[in-house]
Symmetry: C2
Subunit: 241 residues, 2 copies
């Protein structure tokens, strides 16, 4: 965590990387206070704006937090699941929207991951998860729901299913896949009959989870994937015609 030659990288990028590496290596532990901006200036032999740009880079990744005042400064932030979720979802969403990932590819990934949760969710689901799933199913049955609201409810339903697996690492990894799909899903317009089919599958999945039957839940997810793909295909065919 020292030198900074006249390389092609920005000074602020180099400094940010040096501090980031120190955090990853464990040289700077959680809640440790970084040197003040003035001290960092002296240490790296750069001006204060440059140091500040470096610190802002780290703040953007939730690696540090800053606090003003007498005992203020920059502190190593405990990266919590909530912040990581938000970052992951943003990145995943942009990744999908910017790289022309096909609906099929995204859908396949999403359901493959979700099916991985099914057996765990069936074993460990709590009343609260089932309650959310049931509530969303009811919500989805409301006749004058917009397509977008239907998709949002769908995400909440699946999120509850994933959370029921009671593994925060799994929930974190899956958040990206499930939520990032929503913009793609929003393209689809649902007929009343489409919705009925989806809701029926949701009920089937929720029942299976409630009964602790992981295999049945898995089967439901397989059918739901096929149904989703079929609906998407219909929309895309209609659009190209």
């Amino acid at each position: 965590m020292q030198i900074n030659p006249q390389s092609r990288d920005d000074l602020s990028a180099q400094i940010a990387k040096a501090i980031k590496d120190a955090i990853i290596q464990g040289d700077l532990i959680v809640d440790a206070r970084l040197p003040s901006e003035a001290e960092l200036c002296a240490q790296f032999q750069v001006s204060r704006p440059t140091v500040r740009e470096a610190l802002k880079r780290l703040a953007a990744q939730s690696l540090i937090r800053t606090q003003r005042g007498a005992t203020g400064g920059a502190f190593v932030n405990r990266l919590n699941f909530e912040d990581a979720y938000a970052q992951h979802i943003t990145t995943s969403t942009l990744l999908l929207s910017m790289n022309a990932v096909s609906f099929e590819t995204a859908c396949e990934a999403r359901y493959a991951l979700e099916r991985a949760c099914a057996p765990l969710a069936a074993h460990r689901r709590k009343a609260e998860h089932l309650a959310i799933m049931r509530a969303e199913i009811r919500h989805q049955s409301e006749p004058d729901l917009s397509d977008e609201a239907f998709c949002t409810s769908d995400v909440t339903f699946h999120r509850a299913l994933v959370d029921a697996a009671a593994n925060p690492v799994l929930s974190y990894q899956l958040a990206g896949a499930v939520e990032a799909m929503q913009p793609l899903m929003n393209i689809i317009t649902f007929s009343a009959r489409d919705r009925a089919k989806i809701i029926a599958l949701h009920i089937r999945i929720a029942d299976a989870i409630a009964a602790g039957d992981g295999l049945a839940a898995d089967a439901g997810l397989v059918q739901l994937e096929q149904e989703t793909l079929y609906l998407a295909k219909t929309v895309f065919d209609a659009r190209s015609a």
Copy 2:
């Protein structure tokens, strides 16, 4: 993408959020050029360092890239899988190391996700993936390999398995789970007999993938998970004694 009241947030954070939202909403498309720093100063009524701090925040997330010179400026970056991988792995690694996630939880998530890939990998694996897996198995068999090198090779093997599923979204989501586990895995010291067991399972999995037998690969992964948990338990028990 305008106003900036005197709220409690940093001005640079507000500006970064405004631009980020514009990118997510699609108001700024890939490779679009942002206004110059001077123009952004005028638009947001702030000074140049403040604008620059905001831009550095976005650069830290690979949302924009900057270029010097006459036709330079800040451009919306196409978020590629490679950059997203790196970010995701960093975040996942820190999330695990900072939140005292148990080995069991991380291991469960990792193998649950990996098993989701198994059937797809069995169908779609190319010669190159099999070649990597075979090569890593040979590498793991070298007697004077350090524990750390053994773990690195293990990651490469599993990465090839995941990539064999030929779904970039899946690979991206899984990269975090597999690579972030490595620091935890590095704690384990392997006896020669431990390695022999793991290598045997790797061979079994690779054979199953080569044969297109997703179920057999899945069974191999289940055993590998149990073996890994058993090894970790041994280490932890020995450490606490």
